[in-house]
């Protein structure tokens, strides 16, 4: 059993997060440890030192972002793995089982200590495949959504859920930075053009959302990520389509629509038919920068788009009912290896990771 120690952050001086600096980021590390299999989730730990990726090769790979090296290979051949998330405790991670034999129907969430490869707990309760897991940014609780149409609230200490919300369909979930509310997003079915976002108080979620807003979207759009910005002002809906949404985190009003297809290069034969719909789901191609001023979005053209949100006016500032802005202009950086279908920003270090079948670490080249 190798002991994993959390070392101190590199003691370099910090740099301001700017568009210029973000645009200077280049892929500097390429980790190909999933045998070419698709990766379905990426997550950084609280300290920003470690990164885990879960792939359909049923393995979890652990990387050290301080040194930029692959650290450990954790196999979950029996259960499969999806939506691997760090908890706040040591190097423990949660992930959803996804066995290859549908007959097994093992939908438990597993709690694994990466340091010694031992399971701490199984969280059983979902009746269908768990689609996403979100850990409370402060407390030792987490939410899980599943194809069984429920969202469950769990405590890490108990194997049975401590809360349940019936949504009626698969959904996306996200915690606010203070960990006191969470949002659940319901994407429309194939015939509908209306998705909805519900905001829940952690204390009274069983009563229902304190705010429910509907979002007009394109037909049959699938959402895969709901993220509050770290400053708590914005809410990001990441979709499988070329359009993503920035919402006001309080009113739920759509502030901006980010449209990628409008400015995409005109490749003739490589025109993607479904934009970013893949056989295996993934945990979102969009992410906020830690400052909440930028959004990084991956496109199927192997581009990472950087959108500046500094000019975005929240509805609290302007109480008028403005039409949502359509954002198309962005700084683009080219990915050299695969589609950046999952994008995740390190919470403590100026680096972000993208993943397709390989994990790429990006770091700024200019100082």
């Amino acid at each position: 059993m190798s002991q994993i120690t959390i070392t101190a952050k590199p003691s370099s001086s910090t740099t301001q997060i700017t568009e210029k600096l973000l645009a200077s980021c280049r892929p500097t590390k390429l980790f190909d440890y999933h045998q070419g299999a698709s990766i379905t989730s990426l997550d950084f730990d609280d300290s920003g030192q470690y990164l885990i990726s879960a792939g359909i090769d049923k393995s979890i790979q652990l990387y050290d972002c301080h040194k930029g090296i692959h650290y450990k290979d954790i196999q979950s051949q029996k259960y499969g793995c999806h939506s691997a998330r760090f908890t706040h405790l040591d190097l423990n991670c949660l992930y959803a089982s996804t066995p290859n034999n549908p007959q097994e129907n093992d939908n438990a969430i597993r709690y694994l200590a990466l340091s010694n490869n031992q399971y701490i707990r199984y969280f059983k309760g979902h009746k269908e495949q768990v689609s996403s897991i979100e850990v409370n940014p402060i407390h030792n609780t987490f939410l899980s959504s599943s194809f069984d149409g429920t969202v469950k609230h769990w405590d890490l200490k108990s194997s049975s859920s401590i809360g349940n919300i019936d949504i009626g369909q698969n959904s996306i979930i996200g915690f606010d930075p203070h960990g006191i509310i969470f949002a659940i997003g319901k994407y429309p079915d194939e015939n509908s053009t209306i998705g909805s976002i519900g905001l829940y108080d952690l204390k009274t979620f069983d009563k229902g959302p304190f705010l429910q807003v509907s979002i007009p979207v394109s037909k049959g759009q699938i959402w895969n990520k709901l993220e509050f910005s770290n400053n708590g002002k914005l809410l990001l809906i990441s979709t499988e389509s070329s359009e993503h949404y920035i919402l006001d985190a309080f009113s739920g009003k759509v502030l901006a629509r980010i449209q990628l297809d409008k400015q995409s290069p005109s490749h003739n034969h490589t025109q993607p038919k479904n934009w970013m719909s893949f056989k295996y789901p993934y945990t979102g191609s969009c992410t906020f920068s830690p400052c909440g001023k930028f959004v990084l979005i991956g496109s199927p053209y192997s581009i990472v788009h950087i959108f500046d949100l500094n000019d975005l006016k929240t509805s609290r500032d302007h109480n008028s009912d403005l039409e949502p802005i359509i954002l198309t202009k962005s700084s683009n950086i080219q990915s050299t290896h695969g589609i950046p279908k999952i994008v995740a920003f390190n919470p403590k270090l100026f680096t972000f990771a993208t993943a397709d079948t390989t994990v790429t670490l990006w770091s700024p080249t200019s100082k």
Partner: protein, 1057 residues
């Protein structure tokens, strides 16, 4: 459980399935619709359950697809899959065929993706995924699930209280208590639902929770990734190229040079020309460590080089990073090669030119030589006249230049024992007095070694000191100027340059001056020739002469002579023994008789005192000195024998009658001073002793008085042996021995008695036979120890000699007092009044070893039961070995019983053999280790225990220790890379001190594959003796860094390193 399964299958789960199918495939399968009725019941039951932990609640969470129903639905799944897909995805072909029948237009892109192994842009598919088992997560599996179903808010719940989380509860209570669950927000008014953020909005934005993972950082540190196989882009440049190096630069020098700029150097390579094999003056190297670090160091180095422009072997250093393709290196190599070619061409041309020149010069030279010869003759003549004109002021014949200690005073006269004259032969020589460099301790070989730079001809050693004879005065002077006062072991070589009377200056100085240029060559040849000579002489002596003589002297050659000699020996032998015995007996009988007489007639010494005063009656007594020197010839012979047997160097044998030969004038002065001083002291002594009236004291006083007379007499006559010469014809000539008429007048003038009563004093007292007689009577009282009287002559000589030495030492001391270094002077006038302070090792060396010699045994600890130990001593020494054998046998027994030797035994192998030792203050250095019981030779004593560290760490630590003031070194090197550090963590073995003639030795032995240091006894060690071993420090060339050795052993080298 079986009941539950069935129930849920039929009820809840069945219903659930039903609703799903219903939403997607309306009216498709009747089989499922049948179960619909149960659904509402079930959900109601589930909603009403007051869930007790682990019973109904858990059951509801159980897997819901029993085998039977699954099989039943199996066929329908596959058929449905195709029918459903068009709903969700526009492109049906890509989904159904899983990439097997991709359109031709995508083939190229597909191929590319296959190579890079990532998802295809066009199809959104990763073909590699097909190599892995299809997971439940796969859209094929999730899409068959119903997209949505009616929401039942009654299913919403929140656990309000879980006994499991209650810390106040015991385990028992946790089990017994039940959860409290709130369903659908019971008791909460829907109006109460509000955004919890709004209540303290300002705080929400301004005070982000620092513990939160989602902290809004506006600035972030930049990462520093390590370069490895996963890195993209070119590797950091680490290879440095140095060019235009002078050909003299060596690899080691260069690597050491660059080491000072950072880390150790790796892959240092010098590049040679492939054609000529000549160094191109180009080297490449890297810094050690990971590539990032190496690059950082390399860049730093280049920058510092830019600023400082250092020089390597006098040439400015040119250095740059090599690019990844090695272009720079190639370029530099090319230019260097070109240069080399040019050089070679040039050299060839020059060679031709030179040959031409040579021919021309030869012609010229011939002419020049003739001229030079003429000039030389003239110069030689001039030099001769000059030499005559300027007589050297300093180097007069028959003069001595005293050592630097005495400001190089020039003194007339030369001190040289007569018998050395034939060796010195009027050549200049350097005299090193015995008191500076003792001839007993230092052999002439050492002196030779020290002065091997100079062209001396002989080094003679004599009791008085060393004589280094030179052929030329010039060389002698050079040696004197350079080496006078030089440190040599613990001594200083103070030289006196002496030029004997017969020294003539005409030892062609001209040749010397001219030879100055060729000094080195000449010196070398001289040394070689000398060496050859000695070896030749040795060979001749050992190989030719010695066997010849041995053959010649063989007993078989002289059978007659041998017999004769034997018979003679037999006759001669017993004679002297008898005579000696007789003499002794006679003497004793006389003494005995006298003693009896005294006892009868003289009840107290006061009467003897009276007698002593009447000196007239003692006329015919022969002074003691005469008695001792009775047979002068014999004595001389004896002494010579002694000398030859004692002296180490066979070159010179010396006579020992020093008093008659010339002493250095300085010494005589000293002697006189000495006498004056003595007189003063004795007067004082007399004043003190005047009151004392005990009988024994009286005798001494009397002796003292006598001595006083003698000394006075000496002052008059200035001749120590005066009385003897007078004695020779005392009867007839000397007036002193004539009877006097005016009352009692002492024959010899009264002298103040010497404070020291020794042989000389006694001899001085006893002026004549009368004195002797009385002395005999008096001395009979004292018991004569037999040891002293075995060889009276030798004993007498020894007494005298020692006195002489003592005088010299005293003289020395007088000189020394003036030279006391300032730091030994007390500022306050008394060291006792000053606070404690440390004495330097350099000062300690002056007294500590000598004190150690006096307190011979190295013991400091004393035990009361010392006597008991002595009895056991022999037993203990032997039994330790026996013990070991016993232990071994014991271990073997256990091995036999258990099967394999147990860990404990093997681990303790070393500790078991350990001897009882303890540490205490040591005279050598700070602390020392002492044996608590006798230890036999070759016994293991103790292991040197400490931290095992690498060489680099050791250096670092040593540095640190020195900084923090831990002066003592407790680092012990095992091998090149390993050092045992006992400074902070270690056993008491670290206290063992160094000694030049140690009692122990440290051996590195392997115990279970690990090298360990173990101290063994070299010889038998007594109880309470200090343990020492040779530290074997590397020889230090820098005098400043050398560590003084204070061990005080007879063969002490003076330094640890």
């Amino acid at each position: 459980m079986s009941y539950n399964k069935g129930y849920y299958h039929r009820g809840y789960s069945g219903g659930y399935r039903d609703s799903r199918y219903r939403s997607n495939y309306r009216g498709h399968d009747d089989q499922y619709r049948n179960n619909q009725g149960n659904r509402s019941d079930d959900s109601r039951v589930g909603g009403m359950l007051n869930l007790n932990k682990g019973s109904h609640y858990d059951a509801s969470e159980n897997r819901y697809i029993p085998g039977a129903s699954q099989n039943g639905g199996g066929s329908s799944y596959s058929s449905e899959r195709n029918s459903r897909t068009p709903h969700h995805h526009a492109s049906s072909d890509s989904l159904t065929s899983s990439g097997m029948s991709t359109p031709m237009s995508h083939a190229a892109a597909e191929q590319q993706q296959r190579n890079t192994g990532s998802t295809s842009i066009t199809t959104g598919e990763n073909h590699k995924d097909s190599e892995f088992a299809k997971l439940l997560l796969h859209s094929d599996n999730t899409k068959i699930l119903p997209f949505s179903r009616p929401v039942d808010p009654k299913k919403n719940y929140k656990v309000m209280y879980d006994p499991e989380f209650d810390k106040n509860l015991s385990k028992e209570e946790k089990k017994s208590k039940s959860k409290k669950i709130r369903f659908n927000g019971e008791g909460i008014d829907s109006k109460e639902l509000a955004d919890p953020r709004l209540s303290h909005l300002a705080q929400y934005f301004q005070k982000p929770n620092k513990k939160s993972k989602k902290f809004p950082f506006k600035q972030l540190p930049q990462p520093k990734f390590i370069f490895d196989k996963d890195s993209l882009g070119p590797a950091p440049l680490t290879q440095l190229v140095v060019w235009d190096l002078p050909s003299t630069t060596s690899e080691v020098y260069l690597s050491n040079y660059f080491k000072s700029y950072g880390d150790a150097i790796e892959e240092m390579k010098f590049i040679n020309d492939p054609d000529y094999g000549v160094s191109l003056g180009i080297a490449t190297f890297k810094f050690q460590g990971n590539p990032e670090k190496a690059m950082r160091l390399a860049k730093k180095l280049i920058q510092t080089v830019k600023i400082e422009t250092p020089k390597v072997d006098g040439v400015p250093l040119k250095i740059a990073l090599n690019d990844s393709e090695g272009e720079l290196l190639n370029r530099k190599m090319r230019t260097a090669k070109d240069k080399l070619k040019v050089q070679i061409l040039k050299r060839e041309e020059e060679e031709k030119k030179r040959q031409k020149q040579l021919l021309e010069e030869q012609k010229k030279n011939n002419e020049l030589k003739k001229k030079e010869l003429e000039e030389k003759k003239k110069q030689a003549e001039l030099a001769k006249t000059k030499a005559k004109d300027e007589p050297p002021t300093k180097y007069r014949p028959n003069s001595t230049i005293l050592s630097i200690r005495r400001q190089n005073k020039v003194v007339n006269g030369v001190f040289m024992p007569k018998d050395l004259n034939k060796y010195i032969k009027d050549r200049p020589y350097i005299f090193i007095q015995d008191k500076y460099v003792p001839t007993k301790k230092i052999s002439s070989h050492d002196i030779k070694r020290v002065l091997n730079k100079y062209d001396w001809t002989r080094v003679l050693s004599d009791k008085t000191g060393f004589y280094i004879v030179f052929n030329s005065l010039k060389e002698c002077e050079r040696c004197f100027m350079n080496e006078d006062g030089r440190k040599f072991f613990e001594y200083r070589i103070y030289m006196e340059l002496a030029i004997p009377e017969g020294y003539s200056k005409d030892e062609n100085e001209d040749t010397e001056t001219s030879s100055n240029k060729n000094d080195i060559i000449e010196e070398a040849t001289n040394m070689l020739i000398k060496e050859f000579q000695t070896f030749l002489a040795k060979d001749i002596r050992e190989r030719i002469i010695a066997p010849a003589i041995l053959d010649l002297l063989g007993h078989e050659n002289y059978p007659k002579l041998v017999e004769e000699l034997k018979s003679q020996e037999e006759i001669i032998k017993p004679k002297p023994i008898i005579s000696n015995n007789q003499l002794k007996l006679d003497a004793l009988s006389i003494l005995e008789k006298k003693r009896q007489q005294q006892k009868l007639s003289l009840p107290s010494f006061r009467k003897i005192d009276d007698k002593v005063n009447k000196r007239k009656a003692r006329k015919n007594l022969v002074p003691m000195q005469h008695a001792l020197n009775f047979d002068e010839e014999d004595e001389d012979e004896d002494e010579e024998d002694e000398e030859t047997s004692r002296s180490v160097t066979p070159v010179v044998s010396l006579k020992r009658d020093r008093s008659s030969t010339v002493t250095s004038p300085e010494e005589e002065e000293e002697d006189n001073d000495q006498y004056v001083k003595k007189r003063k002291r004795t007067k004082l002594a007399r004043a003190l002793e005047s009151d004392v009236s005990s009988d024994e004291e009286m005798e001494e006083e009397e002796a003292e008085e006598e001595e006083e007379q003698v000394v006075e007499e000496k002052e008059e006559e200035e001749e120590m042996v005066g009385p003897i010469s007078m004695e020779i014809d005392y009867a007839d000539v000397d007036l002193k021995y004539q009877p006097t008429e005016e009352g009692s007048v002492t024959v010899y003038p009264e002298l103040p008695p010497s404070a020291v009563f020794d042989l000389e004093a006694l001899q001085n007292i006893l002026k004549d036979e009368e004195d002797l007689k009385i002395a005999q009577e008096v001395l009979n009282e004292a018991e004569v120890s037999s040891a002293n009287t075995k060889n009276i002559e030798y004993w007498a000589w020894k007494q005298k000699a020692s006195k002489l030495v003592a005088q010299e030492i005293a003289a020395e001391e007088v000189e020394n007092i003036e030279e006391l270094p300032s730091h030994l002077e007390s500022e306050s006038g008394s060291f006792r009044s000053e606070p404690y302070r440390k004495i330097n090792d350099a000062d300690k060396i002056h007294y500590l070893p000598h004190r150690r010699k006096i307190h011979k045994p190295l013991k400091t600890i004393q035990y009361e039961d010392d006597d008991d130990e002595k009895i056991n001593e022999n037993n203990a020494i032997q039994s330790s070995r026996v013990n070991r054998a016993k232990n071994r046998r014991f271990a073997a027994d256990i091995t036999a019983q258990i099967g394999s030797e147990s860990e404990i035994l093997s681990l303790n192998a070393l500790t078991k053999r350990k001897k009882p030792v303890t540490f205490a203050r040591s005279a050598i250095h700070n602390w020392g280790l002492y044996a608590m019981e006798p230890i036999a030779a070759k016994e293991m004593i103790i292991e040197y225990v400490g931290e095992r560290i690498r060489q680099q760490v050791a250096q670092q630590r040593e540095h640190g220790y020195l900084k923090t003031g831990i002066g003592s070194s407790y680092l012990f090197r095992i091998d090149e890379n390993t050092v045992i550090d006992a400074t902070k963590k270690g056993g008491i073995a670290r206290f063992i001190n160094h000694c030049c003639s140690p009692s122990c030795t440290a051996k590195i032995i392997k115990v279970e594959g690990k090298k360990r240091i173990v101290i063994y006894a070299l010889r038998d060690i007594e109880a309470n003796e200090e343990l020492t071993y040779d530290y074997k420090f590397e020889r230090e060339t820098n005098d400043e860094e050398r560590i003084r050795c204070l061990c005080g052993a007879p063969g002490c080298k003076g330094y640890l390193n």
